[in-house]
């Protein structure tokens, strides 16, 4: 929570817009020392502020010295009533006072400080809220005695306090979970409709069908026809023990952008590729839809013809090795042979998509540690590098890293440089990374990423 917030708006926190005071997303706090908060106890708790003041701060004439004291209540009331949004005019005769800590404000609160809204503030509220909301706010404020407020007002320090600023007015995917169907939607003894029930439904449909009934009526009836008896919502919107998804379809943290992109790619893709049996099978096996398959990065890296010597002669076929990745941590390789070159390429691409597996990435840009791979006579070593280093490696490994979403990497291919075995060895090396979490768990030791601690967890991983 923000400590810069005045007291009153704690009770109508939904009214504030999100401010840039603090981070909006809850974040693990890595640093052992707590953030410095400006609400420490004063050094001399019993002394009054005026007494502590240095002689230089004190004004020579007494009337002015008295003035802040008299205006103190009014000033505080002004300060307290100022909402973050509603910039109520501060009384002009109130002199600029020394800054107060939150602790001081809380300690010195009096019932007079909680004044009802002025006409001006109400006018400002009317710009933001509907009359019903204003009525609710006023009713809420009237229901609490100012004396209780002054006595019981405090700042939340409990473990359940919010560590971020939020105006609770919008559902933010990622932070807020979607609303799940209420438990009352479940039906404990669900029963399927019998054939007689269905017959009755059909009878009702035909009886109520208008004179010139169309196909649309029939489709509507079939779509709304229920299969079970009992509660309607139990069938249409059942309660589930599963946590709802963070994102709805086409929804992302930044809003609606993705949907438009999706539509564009869909229109483009429809023309380019038609649905073949192989593609249908691929969709079934992988669970991707056609649009997702199209957004994957696939590339044929190795292609040459191979010959099988039989007693009837040489049988020539095309060999292809392809990679597929989603640019965000998934990578797979696939091989295929076929008499036709395009067929081999397509088959190998589909196999690569099928073989896609998650690859460990450090900070979503490089690999964990240095890894080695060996296939045949190809021995290679992949080395992690600092941010901004780029992909300084040969083209085959470069393409693999691009498909997998690795941005900083160095590689060295020793001994043989056979393209096919290089790709396989690089894949083997990428898959052989060790997860620090597993290492820590195996040894029973705590491993700490110093980079994350240094940047207070601000590095995405």
């Amino acid at each position: 929570m923000s400590l810069a917030r005045p007291a009153k708006c704690l009770f109508c926190s939904f009214s504030r817009a999100a401010s840039a005071v603090g981070p909006r997303v809850p974040r693990r706090q890595f640093h052992p020392t707590p953030t410095y908060l400006n609400d420490r106890k004063p050094d001399l708790p019993n002394a009054k502020l005026e007494d502590i003041k240095t002689p230089r701060d004190q004004k020579p004439n007494t009337p002015e010295q008295q003035a802040p004291k008299q205006n103190k209540a009014a000033n505080e009331a002004g300060e307290v009533a100022v909402d973050a949004n509603a910039q109520a005019p501060v009384d002009t005769n109130v002199q600029p006072e020394e800054k107060k800590t939150l602790e001081e404000i809380v300690r010195n609160l009096k019932p007079e400080n909680f004044q009802p809204y002025t006409a001006e503030q109400k006018a400002h509220l009317a710009k933001v809220y509907t009359p019903e909301q204003i009525a609710a706010i006023e009713a809420g404020e009237a229901s609490i005695d100012p004396k209780d407020m002054a006595e019981q007002f405090g700042v939340r320090r409990d473990p359940m306090k919010l560590l971020y600023v939020d105006d609770f007015s919008v559902v933010e995917p990622g932070v807020d979970k979607h609303i799940r169907a209420p438990e009352s939607n479940s039906e404990y003894n669900p029963q399927l409709k019998t054939e007689e029930d269905f017959a009755a439904d059909f009878g009702r449909f035909f009886a109520e069908m208008p004179e010139n009934g169309s196909v649309g009526d029939w489709v509507r009836f079939v779509e709304t026809l229920r299969v079970t008896k009992g509660k309607e919502e139990a069938e249409l919107n059942p309660h589930s023990a599963m946590v709802p998804d963070l994102f709805g379809p086409g929804e992302n943290l930044s809003g609606q952008k993705q949907q438009q992109e999706m539509k564009e790619t869909e229109e483009k893709g429809k023309e380019s590729e038609e649905m073949t049996d192989a593609l249908k099978r691929l969709l079934q096996d992988t669970g991707f839809d056609a649009m997702e398959i199209r957004t994957l990065r696939t590339k044929t890296l190795v292609a040459h013809s191979v010959v099988n010597q039989t007693r009837l002669g040489k049988v020539r076929r095309q060999y292809c090795l392809s990679i597929a990745g989603n640019g965000d941590g998934l990578l797979g390789i696939g091989e295929a042979k076929s008499e036709e070159a395009p067929d081999a390429a397509l088959q190998s691409k589909y196999r690569a998509i099928r073989n896609m597996q998650p690859i460990l990435r450090y900070e979503k840009r490089t690999i964990f540690g240095d890894v080695v791979g060996k296939v045949g006579a190809v021995e290679l070593k992949l080395m992690n590098r600092a941010p901004g280093f780029g992909l300084r490696c040969q083209h085959l490994i470069f393409e693999m890293c691009r498909a997998a979403g690795i941005h900083d990497l160095a590689a060295r291919v020793d001994r043989s440089r056979n393209p096919m075995n290089t790709v396989k060895a690089a894949y083997e090396a990428l898959m052989s990374q060790r997860n620090p979490e597993d290492i820590a768990r195996a040894r029973g030791k705590k491993l700490v990423d110093v980079r994350k601690v240094y940047y207070s967890g601000r590095i995405t991983n």
């Binding site: 964990f368 240095d370 890894v371 195996a442 040894r443 491993l447």
Partner: protein, 170 residues
């Protein structure tokens, strides 16, 4: 300090973890004992117990011999039996992988490598120094023999001491 024996211990432990043994033994020397205690402290081995030619009786619950076993006490080390003592090690496995990945001796009897603090800092930062490769993978450790005992490289940097590089553990 016999680096020949240390190299034998390294390859013996590599063989033992590849064979997925739960318990193995190495010759009892002061160097081996302190290195293995450092490894145990870092979680690479589960137990280090001094026993005879045959393994000491296993702990009732742990399954491997333990030092402070109240039920079956260890045979005390005397002048008579000290020559026949061996160190019995409990090896650890996690998700069908050995926790002690691979031990590689670095100093050889014919080429002992001493690292001072400056060189050690470079090694800990992942750079090569004095023919010693940097520590570049997660969970990689380098053990040094210093005048304050056998320590991990990072601990040496923390305490600002250099020493003889013994072995690297992946």
């Amino acid at each position: 300090m016999s680096l020949v024996h240390l190299a034998h211990v390294c390859s013996h432990l590599n063989n033992a973890t590849k064979a997925r043994l739960g318990l193995t033994s190495i010759p009892n020397t002061k160097l081996h004992l302190s290195l293995l205690l450092a490894l145990q402290n870092d979680g690479f081995v589960s137990s280090v117990v001094r026993g005879g030619k045959t393994p000491p009786p296993p702990h009732l619950l742990l399954g491997t011999p333990a030092v402070n076993d109240p039920v079956q006490e260890l045979e005390p080390v005397t002048q008579k039996n000290i020559a026949s003592r061996r160190l019995w090690l409990g090896l650890k496995y996690w998700q069908s992988e050995s926790v002690l990945g691979k031990m590689v001796p670095i100093s050889k009897p014919t080429r002992r490598i001493n690292l001072d603090l400056r060189a050690l800092r470079r090694v800990v930062n992942g750079e090569m120094s004095d023919y010693v490769e940097g520590i570049r993978s997660p969970g990689e450790s380098l053990y040094l023999s210093t005048d304050r005992g056998i320590m991990e490289a990072r601990e040496c940097v923390e305490k600002k001491v250099g020493g003889l590089v013994l072995c690297r553990v992946l």
